[in-house]
Symmetry: C2
Subunit: 97 residues, 2 copies
């Protein structure tokens, strides 16, 4: 896949879902993402980290009943990468998507 719109970081099933979720919801809590994907805390945490490492998402903290919770959102870069990736998927499955 020399054509670089295809993004392996985004393509992994769980991360594709995370990006899709964030692309439509603006801000989502850790627990909501975790439950939506049906994965464990540790697994989600690691995917989150990967997406943060390439600056596709960022987190903000806010307190709910005194406890700190993290809310995630796509960065401009992340949104762009996700859109390009989806375009590339469309190109690949041309006709069908």
């Amino acid at each position: 896949m020399e054509n670089s719109k295809f993004d392996n970081i985004i393509h992994a099933p769980n991360r594709l879902q995370i990006c899709a979720l964030l692309s439509s919801l603006e801000q989502v809590e850790f627990r909501v993402i975790r439950d939506e994907l049906g994965v464990s805390d540790s697994v989600l945490s690691k995917h989150i980290k990967q997406l943060e490492d390439v600056c596709y998402i960022k987190q903000k903290k806010s307190k709910v009943n005194g406890r700190e919770r993290r809310w995630f959102h796509l960065t401009t870069k992340g949104r762009r990468a996700f859109e390009l990736h989806v375009e590339e998927l469309k190109r690949i499955v041309r006709g069908l998507l």
Copy 2:
């Protein structure tokens, strides 16, 4: 991904491309797929094998200048799985497609 339309065999980048190619072309030669994906013989051979193992594709042999060459095509099952997978992708990235 409990929802079973999502197909991990098909999702892998190279295999997604193979399926997409076969879904629009009916019959494609080994070398054409290999060059299209830009992978080595061995790599393509292994992906082909995986798709054959689950009966998503089949091969037919035919001679070109006396040499035997393999042509691949999606089976009904493979075509169906590919279409369902694409539908699932659409569902996941809903809004963007």
